[in-house]
């Protein structure tokens, strides 16, 4: 089976973001960028399915300007076979991303699409579900285990009360949670090899999708700062403070 893995270039998860002084957005100038951690888990899961003989081809796709080719090369180094960059300078709403991916799904006809459950920048948690709706596919979101069996995939999902397993007809959409796998590090020979793997560039405007914005950001502000409190010397002092100062225990 063919697996499609959409990935996103985001701020590295170790970087603490700063809001721009004009409150227009966060400041991403000269900030380290990486593949979104959940997307990396998606790539790893696809590679494991290929290593297990379940998958035959892995196609990575990213939507953004030329810089996201860096993350596509990362996916290729991790084991994807080829990559597609959908070129746009705009920052698109999740719905428009899903519409572009729908066109890629129509063209590539994957049996499985594996995405990260959310990107750590916009924290929307929408694209996989929207793509599932647009393609009419079932969805296994927040996956901690993915087992392909015949024409179905069983997905174990991390839910509020614990774990839930669902059986989905293929083709299906899976979105990854943190504990699905631990992504490998790309080895140097694989990084070199990735440079020669095919990477197609297509213009977003050529897909015939209305990409006009559905939301606008009015402003972005830093969160209310929490004042660091005091260091107490003993449990007795802590209990006293909680009872008599904060009044949160009796």
């Amino acid at each position: 089976m063919k697996i499609l893995v959409p990935i996103k270039r985001v701020i590295d998860y170790n970087v603490k973001v700063r809001v721009k002084p004009d409150n227009s957005n966060v400041d991403l100038a000269n900030v380290k960028m990486s593949i979104n951690p959940f997307c990396e888990i998606a790539v790893e899961e696809a590679v494991r399915l290929k290593e297990a003989g379940t998958a035959t081809e892995i196609v990575a796709v990213s939507i953004g300007d030329k810089s996201c080719q860096e993350q596509l090369r990362t996916a290729l180094a991790l084991g994807a076979d080829r990559a597609i960059q959908i070129d746009t300078a705009e920052s698109l709403d999740a719905l428009n991303i899903a519409k572009l991916l729908q066109k890629v799904v129509e063209e590539e006809q994957p049996q499985l699409v594996i995405l990260g459950k959310q990107s750590i920048d916009s924290d929307n948690n929408q694209t996989g579900q929207m793509l599932a709706a647009l393609t009419g596919m079932p969805q296994g979101t927040f996956a901690s285990e993915v087992v392909v069996e015949g024409d179905k995939v069983n997905v174990t999902r991390e839910v509020d009360a614990g774990l839930q397993t669902v059986a989905l007809n293929l083709p299906a959409i899976v979105t990854t949670d943190l504990r699905l796998n631990e992504p490998r590090y790309a080895k140097l020979p694989d990084i070199m090899k990735a440079k020669r793997k095919p990477l197609d560039v297509k213009a977003a405007a050529d897909f015939g999708v209305d990409l006009s914005a559905r939301t606008t950001i009015i402003k972005v502000t830093p969160p209310a700062e929490r004042q660091a409190g005091i260091i107490v010397e003993s449990i007795d002092q802590l209990v006293d403070k909680l009872k008599n100062e904060a009044k949160v225990i009796s």
Binding site: N124, A133, P138, V159, G162, R179, I218, V220, L242
Partner: protein
């Protein structure tokens, strides 16, 4: 202007988070209806009918909705959507799962995880794990919204709404429920508890979480964990507090052996009072804690339990 609120429930009782999502609906303003989709969920419907500010409760009681599979629930909500300008669900795993599907079927954007309402089309939501707060305007005619319940105060429950049963059910027939592994606990729900005590990697193993239990019992607290503790296999995933786990805002949050990665802070920094117990005085958790105690947790926890 009408608003549809999707009820969070387990087929037997209404989750308290729904009362906060109704509060968000009230902040938007309009005639508020609740949808209860489930199976044998009559009790949930009668609870929902008591929620203040709600005029009507629709009940879709059918086996197709028992496990609230996104494929089926999204079709139900989309069918009802015509009459509403706003559709709200709580940003818990059910709402997060099916709501974007509704938005895409309606061809509108979704605004996720709102913590405040500025106006009928403008909402406030955290981005970058809460390290920035965005004010976002939706340009679509219908607004599909998930609500972070910690941003709103629960409405009261002395109302009396009309309950209307919905007849037909839609089974998309492309997905099926296989099994659940539900963690059973006598303690309050993490999301609803007024006190939460969480352990991190410093707990060293799952057995040591017992040290938190005595304190939790005395305080009526829920027990949580950091991602590090869950990843290390100390405790199950449903205990995780953080950017991708549960978002909590109790009156008192006690962080034990948790260093305070930004992903963890994203899940608890709106708590009213934060206590940190950590043996590393440089741990970032102390920068958000109201009361910090630099101590070995294996000494501090038994002493704390004995003095409460």
């Amino acid at each position: 202007m009408s608003i549809l609120v999707f009820a969070e429930h387990d087929n037997s009782s209404l989750k308290a988070d729904t009362l906060k999502t109704v509060a968000a609906a009230q902040a938007i303003g309009g005639d508020i209806h609740i949808l209860v989709a489930g199976s044998n969920c009559a009790d949930v419907a009668s609870e929902a009918a008591k929620v203040n500010g709600v005029s009507k409760v629709f009940v879709a009681d059918n086996p197709a909705y028992e496990h609230q599979l996104a494929e089926n629930v999204s079709l139900l909500v989309t069918e009802l959507a015509g009459d509403y300008e706003h559709i709200l669900a709580t940003a818990l795993t059910t709402g997060k799962n099916f709501m974007p599907r509704v938005a895409a079927l309606l061809d509108v954007a979704q605004v996720s995880d709102i913590i405040a309402v500025e106006s009928a089309d403008t909402f406030v939501r955290p981005i970058y794990a809460g390290n920035a707060i965005a004010t976002v305007q939706s340009l679509d005619s219908k607004k599909v919204i998930t609500v972070r319940s910690t941003g709103f105060d629960a409405v009261a429950t002395d109302g009396s709404a009309e309950v209307v049963a919905l007849g037909s059910a839609t089974d998309a027939g492309i997905s099926a429920h296989v099994s659940d592994e539900i963690s059973k606990s006598e303690r309050p729900d993490l999301g609803a508890a007024s006190v939460v005590i969480s352990g991190g990697r410093g707990m060293q193993n799952g057995d040591n979480f017992k040290l938190l239990e005595g304190i939790a019992d005395k305080l009526g607290a829920a027990i949580g964990a950091s991602r590090a503790a869950v990843d290390a296999g100390f405790v199950p995933n449903d205990m995780q507090v953080g950017q991708t786990g549960k978002i909590v805002a109790p009156d008192l949050y006690i962080a034990v052996g948790i260093s305070g990665a930004i992903q963890h802070l994203a899940g608890m920094k709106d708590s009213k009072v934060i206590v940190a117990i950590n043996k590393d005085p440089e741990a970032p958790i102390f920068q958000v804690a109201d009361y910090g105690l630099v101590a070995d947790l294996f000494d501090a926890l038994p002493e704390l339990e004995s003095k409460l």
